[in-house]
Subunit: 431 residues, 2 copies
């Protein structure tokens, strides 16, 4: 017998899981389309060089990389952005802004664990061209709309920050090693306070500075309080353009929601390439990893092509999102579809029943039919097992009269419907 | 600068291509759902062993295979069936028939050429359980329905055969090397007649047998003529059960179409694992490779798991299908969606325009808005360039009166619509 094990960290998706998962894809894509983002699709394989210089050692070490038959090192794509930017810079004819989305698979060779698989989907949305708070807000607004369309309003917290603001605050505290400070900030909500304070000391803060700094970054400031916060004593000395840009962003974001979005100075995001606004969403209990994350990255296109193209975007994986939706019982199969099961009372009437089934199928109505030569009573049992909403029965009298008997499995009401009215009967009820 | 070449044989799909491509995925999946098939998803990576014993040397040599960090040989999946059967046999609890479909990516390391890419999508549909002509017809009916839903009726020819019938015919001609005969038959429409006849001679046919054999396999017999064909002198001596099964299949298939489906004795399909009915569809001019292909494979589950599970299914790639649809001008972006472009007459009114845009977006109506700080006249130019169907205008008087001015870009008619009626206005027109 053949070896038939599944590869570790990979997943078989059976119908009972794939049915509810459809909502994740459909609703994300529908929201992106409503915002006027256009779909692209990237290859699943890229040259390894695409990641070496910008993606950081950790990601490079997680690549499913191998040599092709021509001896070049290629890899299963570990993230979206390098490919998106490669596609963008390969086309100089595109009018800007370019608003693109994608929703495809990525691969990382890491230890499988909660919220992490070696193969996962990621939604990605980006705007290339304008370096404006309106563009930042458009991308964040899309992220919020996707979460809300999945009925997650109230179940998530959305944290926003700006790397320029953090750098200005670090300047106020005379910190010079920004890279180390960012790595430390990234740990603020993951380590205990004492450990964090030791870190602050090591980048040069004294005891009273440590207190004021911690107070500052522990705050979660809702979007309708940003203007007030920036005019407070705490942020005295921060450059006006930095404040103004965030105030502007906050005033746009209240159009989406005032309850779920916060300025959080400890949100810095790990990736080195962000240059401005950064953001992340977590479930409100912080039970799971981040649901999505993104920010502004104005220098990446330049690195790849010598073209300076401002960019803002985000990625959202399917694994945490599916876990969260299941945890909050928000992921259930869509009830949209009527299911019909077509039965024939004797073997000779199979093609007649199929004729009726095909009328429904052509109208997009789901209709199953026995193909095993089951008896009439076994077909009815099968219909029950399949949770059919209607039983369509074809017997001698139905064939002779060109009608079907249709039994509502909920109410047990049965009626006779002419074949030429069958589709319309269902379409009328679907309204 | 970073190396930003695309890997050879892989494809970047830009919005102008991805928009029309959506029809291929949506219509195939909708047809499968209407037939009561359920969606599954398989990993993109499997152990190489899964293919070694059954898939044939050619396919094995085309695998994107590599060693994982644990030293095991894995590969990007080159075809659907081994994974589908692996998933099926891993679940002993599934009531049969199991009707599954999938539509995902596969990879083959072969020379890129017309109709072949190294990365491609394939729709796959299978029924496991019943070994009946009804199950064969259900799978073939699904394939026909997908082609028809893509407006390809009249553009394709669908060829059906049964390996058992071919073997019976070969027995009549005293051919003993079935494998060689199948390989030869597979070439019937690809090589010239003289070459083919040399082949027939080499498997033992004499001159008069060659003539009668060629006459037989050159026929294309429509489904409504199968019964007549099987009662003809030509097929005398073929076992009754073989004939009866094909006659039954033909009588079901006429429910789908009588014009496009033919019995063709030269259709044998390359893969060694087929055990009964086999089928293939080509564009009517035979300009492209096969659009889809499949058949009955009753022994594969046994090979993998020791479970005897009859199976019938087919695969349909996206590359030939997209080429054909483009060639016949059947692949155009769906015109379903109204596009609105929201404009603001002065920069201070951006958030007011966004408010109106968001009302539409929440109802699933596509609405773009400038995020670059463009002037009002530049926004209107942008709306034109984007081919907006409606221009939504927010100025002072609109804000003061809680309405929007909406201009139909086709008729140039402009009207004022209250914000709280805006969604309904569009939904009414969408009917």
């Amino acid at each position: 017998m053949v070896q038939t094990e599944r590869v570790r960290g990979f997943r078989d998706v059976f119908p009972e899981e794939s049915e509810p998962r459809k909502a994740i894809f459909e609703k994300s894509e529908r929201a992106a389309e409503a915002f006027g983002f256009k779909k692209i699709e990237m290859p699943s394989v890229e040259y390894m060089d695409l990641y070496r210089s910008k993606s950081g050692d950790e990601l490079v070490s997680q690549c499913f990389a191998f040599y092709d038959k021509g001896g070049r090192e290629i890899t299963l794509v570990p993230e979206a952005t390098p490919s998106v930017v490669r596609m963008l810079t390969s086309r100089k004819d595109l009018p800007r802004p370019v608003k693109w989305y994608s929703f495809q698979k990525y691969w990382r060779y890491e230890e499988p664990q909660a919220g992490r698989l070696r193969e996962f989907y990621q939604f990605n949305g980006d705007i290339f061209g304008p370096d404006t708070p309106e563009a930042d807000a458009e991308v964040i607004g899309l992220a919020l709309s996707i979460l809300d369309s999945l009925n997650l309003r109230g179940e998530y917290k959305f944290f926003i920050n700006d790397r320029n603001l953090v750098e200005a605050i670090l300047r106020k505290y005379n910190v010079t090693d920004n890279e180390r400070a960012f790595a430390l900030l990234d740990k603020f909500r993951k380590v205990d306070r004492a450990t964090f304070e030791v870190g602050l000391e090591s980048i040069g803060l004294n005891a009273s500075e440590i207190d004021s700094f911690c107070d500052l970054i522990a705050m979660e400031i809702p979007m309708d309080r940003i203007a007030e916060f920036f005019s407070s004593e705490k942020l005295k000395g921060i450059e006006a353009p930095i404040k103004e840009r965030l105030v502007r962003l906050s005033k746009i974001l209240v159009e989406y929601t005032v309850e779920n979005v916060f300025l959080d100075l400890s949100t810095v995001r790990g990736l080195a390439y962000y240059t401005g606004v950064v953001f992340e969403a977590f479930d409100s209990d912080r039970k799971f990893r981040s649901i999505l994350g993104g920010g502004r990255y104005n220098k990446l296109a330049d690195l790849y092509s010598g073209q300076a193209i401002p960019a803002v975007g985000f990625g959202m994986g399917d694994v945490v999102l599916e876990n969260l939706l299941n945890d909050r019982k928000k992921l259930t199969p869509s009830t949209k579809s009527v299911k019909v099961y077509a039965c024939y009372t004797e073997p000779g009437l199979y093609t007649e029943a199929l004729k009726a089934a095909n009328i429904l199928r052509k109208s997009g109505i789901q209709c199953a039919i026995d193909v095993s030569g089951k008896s009439f009573s076994s077909q009815m049992k099968e219909a029950n097992k399949e949770a059919a909403t209607y039983l369509l029965i074809i017997g001698r009298k139905e064939v002779d009269g060109s009608f079907v008997s249709l039994k509502d499995m909920g109410s047990s009401v049965q009626e006779e419907i002419k074949l030429n009215k069958l589709s319309q009967w269902f379409l009328d009820r679907a309204k």
